[in-house]
Structures are given as structure tokens and as C-alpha cells.
């Protein structure tokens, strides 16, 4: 059942561009898929009990790395994108060791500082990054053709839509495989009782760094995708509020299950686009939704069916007593 539902969703997504009226809605769905990967990868870090707020910074690193590799080093986008992901993961790995010594909120605070350092570096390192103005005219990905039938030259948003779809499916597949493997189990163990995990021989520091590093690979890749899609990048494109949004997607969707961040990102990205007034007050709406979810559905949107099921029998019981 679960499998066929996933399959049906993928088929729908493949045919969706046919029904989308105009490039604007195609753009919205591309954004949605980017946000889904960001929220799902944030959950991987969260699994180890650490709340990273460096996702925006990591995305910036990926975006600049790819733009510079293509424009200054002459690499193909298809090589630059994975390299950007790996470079971002490497940065996370290096800063991970000192960072994970801090626990709870203190870890989150240094990750915010880190994101700010990334923004400032991009602003000040004029010779490399062109400063606060950012980089413009980032070239489109080189044309590709699959099996000699499907051609994509990325002159239209629909080509980017399919690239985003393939990226999203690949990223979600990797994230799912990692979570269902022994690594995912260890990370959850570390979250529940890290000194106990350490006492049975698990290198808890190493696994926290691993989660941070692997979880930062994805914003790196998506940053690369995004800069070539928009064809521009500036230092504060993915600033603090951007990171907070990812956190909201994850929390509203429910961080306890794999599907949670996916659902949260999809609903909260598409919903404001449907109604203009909602979009104008987006930060307020998001804050209100977040507070409502925390109070009434602590498990997030994925917890709703369970809550409703639990509510039903109790109301029957109530009727019987009456």
C-alpha cells in the first residue's frame, strides 16, 4: 500500500508540468522540491539529537562553490554539483568536531554564528565572490540527452523541474536508506542516551559529526542546483530566516517520522502561493502555524491521523457513559 502510494505520487509528479499553467507554478513546485530535500536532510542531523541552524550557510557554500567552479575553473555543472555537495560536507565535517562538543541549544547557537560567518566571508572576499552584489550570469547546466530520446537544454523551467524531481528522489532515497540502516538506529540511540551509547563502544562524537556532515551534503548540492537555476547568487540569499523556515517545515510536518518534513515543506511552500494575502504575511502565518502545531499536534502533521483515531474511540466511550 505504502509502496503503491509512493509510486502514484512519483507518477503524478512526472506528469504534473503538463497541467501547470505557466512558468510561475512550475517555479513553485521546483522550490517545493528544494525545500523538501532541505527539511528532510535537516531531520537526519536532528536524529542524532542536535538542532543545526547552519542549513542556510551550507546552502550558500554549495551555491558559491558550484558557481565559482563553473565560471572560474570551467568545470561542467554536472561535475560541479556533486563536488559542491562534497565540499559542503567536508566543511561540516571539519567544523563538526569542535561544534558537537557543545550540546543542545549551545550547538544550535554556534551553527547560527557559522552561517553568519559564511555570509560575511561571501561579502568581504571581494576578489573571489564579488562581494555583497553577488555573482550574476551563472550559466545554465550543459544540455543532456538520455537514451538519445529525452533532451534537456535547460532553456525552460520544465527542464529544471525534471532535474529537481530527479535530485529530490535521489536525495530522499539516500536519506531513507541511511535512516533505515544501522546508522539511523545508532543516531536515534545517541539522541536518547549518549553516555549509554558511548559505554557500549559507540563513538558518539564521531556519529554526531557524521550526521552533521552527511546532513549538510544535501543543502550543498541543492545550493548548487539553485544558483544555476536562478542564475545568480548573493551572500544573504539563504539568511537566518531561510534556515528558520526549514526548521518550521520540519517541525510542522513532524520530525518524528521520515514523511514529516516532506509533508511540512510541501504544504507550507505551496499554501502561501495559493493565496496572495497569505504570502504577504508569510512570517506571521508560519509563526502562528508553528505555535498551533506545537500546542495542539506536538507530533506534527504526520501525527494527525493517529490523534484522530485516538479521539474517536474516546468520544464513543463518552457517548456510552452518557
Amino acid at each position: 500500500m505504502k509502496r503503491s502510494l509512493v509510486g502514484a505520487t512519483i507518477v503524478c509528479l512526472i506528469f504534473l508540468p503538463v497541467f501547470l499553467s505557466g512558468p510561475y507554478y512550475t517555479h513553485v513546485f521546483i522550490l517545493t522540491m528544494v525545500n523538501i530535500v532541505l527539511a528532510a536532510s535537516l531531520r537526519l542531523i536532528n536524529l542524532s539529537g542536535q538542532m543545526s541552524l547552519a542549513h542556510g550557510g551550507m546552502m550558500t557554500i554549495g551555491a558559491y562553490t558550484s558557481a565559482l567552479l563553473v565560471m572560474k575553473a570551467g568545470l561542467s555543472f554536472w561535475a560541479a554539483m556533486p563536488i559542491s555537495g562534497l565540499a559542503t560536507a567536508l566543511v561540516a565535517y571539519i567544523i563538526g568536531y569542535p561544534f558537537v562538543r557543545l550540546k543542545g541549544i549551545y550547538f544550535s547557537i554556534v551553527t547560527i554564528f557559522f552561517s553568519e560567518v559564511v555570509v560575511l566571508t561571501a561579502q568581504q572576499w571581494q576578489s573571489l565572490t564579488q562581494g555583497a552584489a553577488g555573482i550574476f550570469g551563472i550559466p545554465r547546466p550543459d544540455p543532456v540527452s538520455l537514451f538519445g530520446i529525452l533532451h534537456a537544454d535547460f532553456s525552460s523551467k520544465v527542464d529544471f523541474y525534471y532535474l529537481a524531481l530527479v535530485l529530490m528522489l535521489l536525495c530522499l532515497l539516500i536519506l531513507y536508506a541511511v535512516e533505515k540502516s544501522r546508522i539511523g538506529m545508532i543516531l536515534r540511540g545517541v539522541q536518547q542516551a549518549d553516555s549509554l551509547a558511548e559505554s557500549v563502544g559507540i563513538d558518539t562524537t564521531g556519529f554526531k559529526v557524521l550526521a552533521f556532515s552527511v546532513g549538510s551534503f544535501f543543502p550543498g548540492v541543492l545550493g548548487a542546483f539553485y544558483s544555476h537555476y536562478i542564475s545568480a547568487i548573493n551572500p544573504d540569499a539563504f539568511a537566518f530566516l531561510f534556515t528558520i523556515y526549514i526548521l518550521i517545515y520540519m517541525t510542522v510536518g513532524g520530525d518524528g517520522r521520515f514523511l514529516g518534513p516532506i509533508l511540512g515543506a510541501a504544504v507550507l511552500t505551496i499554501l502561501p502561493e495559493v493565496s496572495r494575502p497569505l504570502k504577504a504575511f508569510e512570517p506571521f502565518v508560519f509563526a502562528a502555524v508553528l505555535i498551533a502545531v506545537i500546542f495542539f499536534v506536538p507530533e506534527g502533521m504526520v501525527g494527525l491521523p493517529k490523534m484522530l483515531k485516538r479521539a474517536k474511540p474516546s468520544s464513543k466511550e463518552g457517548a456510552a457513559h452518557a
Partner: protein, 254 residues
């Protein structure tokens, strides 16, 4: 097996553990007793790597392990349990043990992501071993229960099962009988004996004096961070320093 020389830990001016020398021989059951605040748990933390000693040396099977990280020391074969409850509460009983079978039979992590045939065989081996451990400690019928739903005594036993999953050569038990009723105490004592029969060396901290005297052939007594006595249960019972430490009478002056 385990040799400790001049082990000390100072918290500011407080000497929590002060130049303790001790030897644990392979295959013995050694008891570590002492009044509250004597430094027993601090001593465990120093041996298992949770705390770094201020001074002194810990040698295990000829290897200097002083100040190494807890997971490294666990990997060398010293595994400790914790005072109070220490389990993975959101996992089932079986998952608690499966997760803790981390050290052997070393599953390559990226193999498990790719789910190669080899990793599946290893996962199955881990599952078999975990079930065997649950059989041994008597939690086999509760394998699929959520760990946090267990009764207190069962949680304590699960804590021991988790430690066993790490394949200890030397098992440090920190008050395994704490908060247990009489029948749980005798079951746990029988379990500790079974583990010892299987060749695991036991170092036991326990407040239950009768249990310690019954279980251990040799006992070390700590008081105010210092070793004040060492010997057979009968010698310890007759030792005037130990009696003074437990009964108070001018112990500070002594």
C-alpha cells in the same frame, strides 16, 4: 587483568578518589564497597573513561588506557553499567540489545546503507546474538516490549543485557541490585554468577552488603576516596577501619 596505580581525581579541592591502587585478576568477582560519597562511582567513571583522572595510571591487559575515551575502553573489553536506569527508552527491549551489539561482528556502516548480502548476514548474526543475550538474562519473553514500559527490575536487567551486547571481558556493575525487591535481588545475583561462569570478570559496586559478601571472594573498601581495606569477606567484616567507616564513630579523625 586490570591494574590501577595511584589513581586520583580532584574536583577543585575535593579529593574524590585519592591515590588508589588496585588489581583485578582475570576470572574473579571483586566487590567494591564503601559508605555514600566514598568515591566508588567516580572510580568507575575513571576506569571506564567517562572522567579523566588527575593522576595515576590504568592498565588493562598490559595496555595503558588512562584517559582514553569511553568507547575506546569499551572496545578493549571493559564495559560498565550505570547506577539507576540507563536504557534506550524509545526502543524495544530487543532493539536496545541489537543497537548495543555495535562492536562485534563489526558491520561496515556504508554496507548497511547499501544493504549488501554480507551486511544482511551480519545483521542476522547480530539479531541471533541479541536473542541469545535476552535468553541468558531472562528477558526473552519481553523482547518486543517497549523498553520504557518495563518494570523497574526488568529495566535494570536490560541495562546489564545492553552491557553484555558489547562483549565485555571485564564487567563493571554499578549497584545492579539498587531498588530491587528480594526475589529480583536473588535472580540478579544468580544472573551475575552465570555471567561469571561464562568467563566474564566482574567488578561490583553494591550497597547490599549481604549480597556483596555472598557474591565476591575479595572485597575492596573505599572511604573518602581512599582505599582503607582489602581482603576476603570475613576479613572485611572483622576490619576495625571498615567498621569505623560504616558506623561513623570518629571516622573523620581516623
Amino acid at each position: 587483568m586490570l591494574e590501577i596505580e595511584g589513581l586520583s581525581k580532584f574536583f577543585g579541592g575535593l579529593e574524590a578518589v585519592s591515590s588508589v591502587d588496585m588489581r583485578v585478576n582475570a576470572g574473579e568477582k571483586l566487590g567494591l564497597i564503601g559508605p555514600n560519597g566514598a568515591g566508588k562511582t567516580t572510580f568507575f567513571n575513571l576506569v571506564s573513561g567517562t572522567l579523566k583522572p588527575t593522576k595515576g595510571k590504568v592498565t588493562f591487559e598490559g595496555r595503558d588506557i588512562t584517559g582514553r575515551s569511553p568507547h575506546y575502553i569499551a572496545g578493549k573489553g571493559i564495559v560498565r553499567t550505570f547506577q539507576g536506569i540507563n536504557i534506550f527508552p524509545d526502543f524495544t527491549v530487543l532493539e536496545n540489545v541489537v543497537l548495543s551489539c555495535h562492536l562485534k561482528p563489526g558491520v561496515g556502516l556504508f554496507e548497511t546503507v547499501l544493504r549488501t548480502g554480507r551486511s544482511r548476514r551480519k545483521e542476522r548474526a547480530i539479531l541471533d546474538r541479541s536473542r541469545a543475550i535476552l535468553d541468558l538474562v531472562g528477558l526473552d519473553k519481553l523482547a518486543d516490549a517497549s523498553a520504557q514500559s518495563l518494570a523497574h527490575g526488568h529495566k535494570r536487567i536490560l541495562g546489564i543485557a545492553v552491557a553484555l551486547a558489547a562483549e565485555p571481558k571485564l564487567l563493571l556493575l554499578d549497584e545492579p541490585l539498587g531498588g530491587m525487591n528480594a526475589s529480583e535481588v536473588s535472580e540478579t545475583m544468580a544472573l551475575i554468577d552465570r555471567l561469571w561462569d561464562q568467563g566474564i570478570t566482574i567488578l561490583l559496586i553494591e550497597h547490599n552488603m549481604r549480597a556483596t559478601m555472598n557474591l565476591c571472594r575479595r572485597i575492596v573498601v573505599l572511604n573518602f576516596g581512599r582505599k582503607i581495606a582489602e581482603g576476603t569477606p570475613d576479613e572485611i567484616k572483622a576490619n576495625p577501619d571498615v567498621i569505623r567507616a560504616y558506623l561513623g564513630a570518629g571516622a573523620h579523625a581516623a
